[in-house]
Symmetry: D2
Subunit: 350 residues, 4 copies
């Protein structure tokens, strides 16, 4: 019963097979190989556009490199106050961005609202030379609350951002989960909705360590090859990260894996709700947040369930928080089984 | 016939098997797993010391993070003028070091001599506040010329460095090849000879993407966990990089793989010499450098041999350079076969 | 009627005379001169301690260099949410600190309270490797609200900070004003109260461009000479910045100038209060904040008064904010005259 | 007899008077004052072009900020191997440039030759992603050897640089001396010859602390106001640095001061030559380099002459270096007197 994170799962079998297949013969290093070309083509196909893409092995690298490419050192990056880039990356964006500023915005359900974004940008606090210049809007899809932005929401936010001269970045560590839920083509929820650059994650979705920075406007990628190298994120045996991405995007594997994870989250959420533990936020991807008593929480752990508690500092208004309430985050993955879900719910309800 | 680099080889079968085995069940991310503990223990065992070690996926990350940990932003890093850190990493050390200075020293056979190091450190050019402070000596083992430092040489250089307040870093991207040749225990050629921090490479040796920064004095690793994270080099599914390192160090796999590569280099070197193409530098690891005519070079390529030409700007005195001479670098790996070697030599001699 | 800032005043006559006197003969550059030695001695005398001090020409340089010297790149700097370093320096601390994080804390009257600081440090948000490490507490004396910390308050905050391993920095751009009001020796309100490093401002107090970074523990200044040079803040004709500081600290000039500014602020505050415009925060240094109607504000400007409006986003509870209220900041200086004050108040009351 | 540097001189009387005059009344800070507008206009007039200019207090700030504005972090800056930016600024350009690389080129007489520049740029060492990208050519005018580039030389170098996509920066810490010697208008020796951005020094020429970054293409200055602020180089009482620059450029003061310094250098050079101590390099600005015996050198110092010895590592071919030869640098300034020069020569010849 491991719901600690989707990165606690291993690697999808199709991707392990692809790695084994890639291990034949010699191939030039640093991306000068056919696997890389094919992976790039797959990414272009998925997004229905002639993009520039660059593979790395961590999501933090994706986010930091992408943001640094668009924010000048005096740039401010607007994101949700619970966004991974601002809470969990130990300042990697600030390091790669040479001292940029991340500005966390409040927002219900883990999402930034248009009014909040507009108000933040219209504040008189941004003037030169004494203040940061707002430069990037970063949206997490799915969000840290397990919710997702609809294409129309992205469009509205992107329009505001673009009108103020900002670039729109999407942290898509869980983009597969979001798209599987939206049942929308990848292009409609990204560049057609105004996203300029994407951190496209495969690791949480089932790869071993594979992520891509995707520039929807190829021209804007100028210099990025050196930025990646200099960040020490260009792998020498590059074919192996490419092979992961290729397999992930072949025959819709990524969406099938994501759909499974989402289905497990739905099942978990539904059954917990039936057991009196309704989700705190809408379950729209592969994360379920629930308030439970300390007793239930401890019992679950005693029975071997793995999950993290979260600070209950951003709950929806009206959430039923009792004195001993604990907020827990439960993440499903491609590897989660119905048996695990049911065992967890049973243990919670004992 | 691929002699372009040892990173054009794939992954050793033992390591692929280890990856497959690691793909069972769930494991906490970011290094909080048993594979990581075991890999760390293997590293400690290999070096016969209670070290602090950190895994990453590129050699450039190893070097950059290690050096940045010891050089203040106004620190100078002394290395051979052909060292990988100064010629091929696009300024990654300067980036991670917040603007440090790499100072390339000349030296025969790709190695720094004690007299050169001493002279460089004794120059009056280092005074505060107008000048950089020499902070790190970085030695490449094996060197970029395919030669190796003997423990006594390291000791002499390290003593000079330490006497001037510098830290000694070893770029051990090919440490296995060096140790296999030296037939010396890992400790004698590293910390017992004065090395303070090591970039310990497994990728070139046969892994997919696994390198370790090894601090021989654990106390000095304080803060490094955040430095790695912030450099975006902490993998989420960390068990997979750990599994590679564990397998690499199990049952002397790494030394067996290195020995094979070295043997192939010897064979290649011997036969080329017999064919009138003697090595430019002593073949002490898995690299052979040879001068050949443009005609021979082109014929080899036409027959499918892959290798790189190098600028002949640092040849030993007395090297027989003819007007149409080309300097080529030939790298063998764990995957090189005798058939390939013999085919190459035959093609060269046609 | 210029109340826009204390930096709109010119230079105190005593300091102009010192500059003229310093302009005799030749002197070695970069601080190797007798003016610099004397200025350093004055600083040591004022603080009653054998300190290490470094002169620069801007307060932002003082703050940024001092903080960068103590915070690792993954360090968090705790300060009041309205502190100058976080609101008005365009990310200079983040730049000099290679991507550090400034964390603004709330607090009444522009000051950080002990409970708020303790709660911030006790939060579970700081763990390695995913999160910043709290490293520096920065206190503004006087604060951005024109209030001051008493020595006992500094002591309490410093004890909490030190217990958590933080260094205590004081932004003393207006330290003279604070000390003049406290009527306390400089040592009691700085290092004896727990301050480790001070940005000691003379510019706002009456100099042309002279500030000092003061390390109360000399050992901790190691490397700072290179840090300053590399920040491009080591003046070549250094005697002229030293001459300013020397004059500023001779015969208590700095305290006399500060006392005058404070007295003018008191007069302004008292008379405005009598006219129905009481100060929003206690007037403890040389700044008066008042709420006035848009009509009064505009009339004052029309009559030639210079001052800035501030966002009323941090007012004390219970402040009488009417729909058309404007928050204005009025800063007095050594050059402010009673005539100006009275003219302003008369214009406000018309 | 102070020939240590032109920064050992004080401030020209006209500039001291300007400072005193500027000290009247109040003025808004941070450059929002009429002195700054006038200084900017003077600079535009001098260069006969509608430029964007920014004042700072050190030459190192000028160079570092200007270069950082044009070199990406993976950019290489080509300069003479003895250029101040590479030998004496403790890595300030590397710090402001986030880890850029300074590449020193050899060259006779302290100058870069066209062939050397072309060869350096045509080397195959610059490819992405493993190598730095040449981005800026920095020319020192006058050079560190006291020589100057003619407009035609600048034009030739700039054409090569531009053809390779580089920006041309001029370190004009001693531009006045060069222009006084060239007897050419400022525009012809700068932007009309291909210079894109200039570090325009006034401090060495007679100011207290005033330098300007001058962008000949105003569009290219976008963002520079924040870059300066963030580098902590925006003075609050900005009128005082502006007043210096204004006075410096009024009625050709700067050229008159430079002409005097040059004349003193000529006199010194001529008389030393007559005394058997000919200059090592052509005396074209305000610096004289001479080889003398240790005995003469020590005698001069004993008689109170101040000057620096330099490493004789870059002497012209054929320079008569005797075993006990010492290379000394003698710098004249606006404040040097003929009496001092004659006294020095007399002491040398005793």
């Amino acid at each position: 019963m491991n719901f600690a994170s989707d990165n606690t799962a291993g690697v999808a079998p199709e991707i392990m097979i692809a790695l084994a297949k890639a291990n034949e013969g010699f191939a030039l290093g640093y991306g000068n190989d056919t696997w890389t070309r094919r992976a790039e083509q797959r990414i272009a196909d998925v997004f229905n556009r002639d993009v520039a893409s660059f593979l790395v092995t961590t999501g933090t690298a994706c986010n930091s490199l992408a943001i640094a490419h668009f924010a000048p050192p005096w740039g401010a990056v607007l994101c949700h106050e619970n966004a991974h880039i601002v809470t969990d990356e130990c300042g990697a964006p600030e390091f790669f961005g040479n001292g940029i500023k991340l500005v966390g915005l409040p927002g219900d359900d883990g999402k930034i609202g248009a009014a909040v974004l507009k108000a933040a940008l219209d504040k008189p606090q941004w003037g030169a030379p004494h203040h940061f210049a707002p430069s990037v809007l970063s949206l997490s899809q799915a969000s840290e609350a397990g919710t997702i932005y609809r294409p129309a929401e992205i469009r509205e936010l992107a329009d505001i951002a673009h009108a103020h001269g900002l670039i729109v970045h999407m942290d898509g560590a869980r983009l597969g989960n979001a798209l599987a839920r939206l049942n929308a083509p990848a292009d409609e929820a990204t560049w057609k909705a105004g996203v300029d650059v994407l951190s496209f994650g495969a690791t949480k979705g089932g790869a071993m360590a594979a992520e891509a920075i995707v520039f929807f406007d190829k021209e804007r990628a100028a210099g990025f090859d050196r930025r990646r190298k200099r960040g020490s994120h260009l792998l020498s045996k590059h074919r192996f990260v490419a092979a992961q991405m290729e397999a992930y995007l072949t025959d819709d594997l990524w969406l099938r894996l994501a759909r499974h994870a989402n289905t497990m989250a739905d099942r978990l959420s539904d059954r917990l709700a039936a057991a009196g533990l309704p989700p705190v936020w809408p379950v729209e991807a592969n994360e379920v947040f629930a308030l439970m008593s300390r007793g239930v929480c401890d019992r679950l752990k005693a029975k071997g369930a793995a999950f993290y508690e979260r600070l209950p500092d951003n709950l929806p208004k009206g959430a039923a928080v009792k004195p001993d309430s604990v907020l827990v985050r439960l993440v499903t993955s491609f590897a989660t089984t119905t048996a695990e879900v049911d065992e967890f719910v049973a243990a919670a309800g004992d």
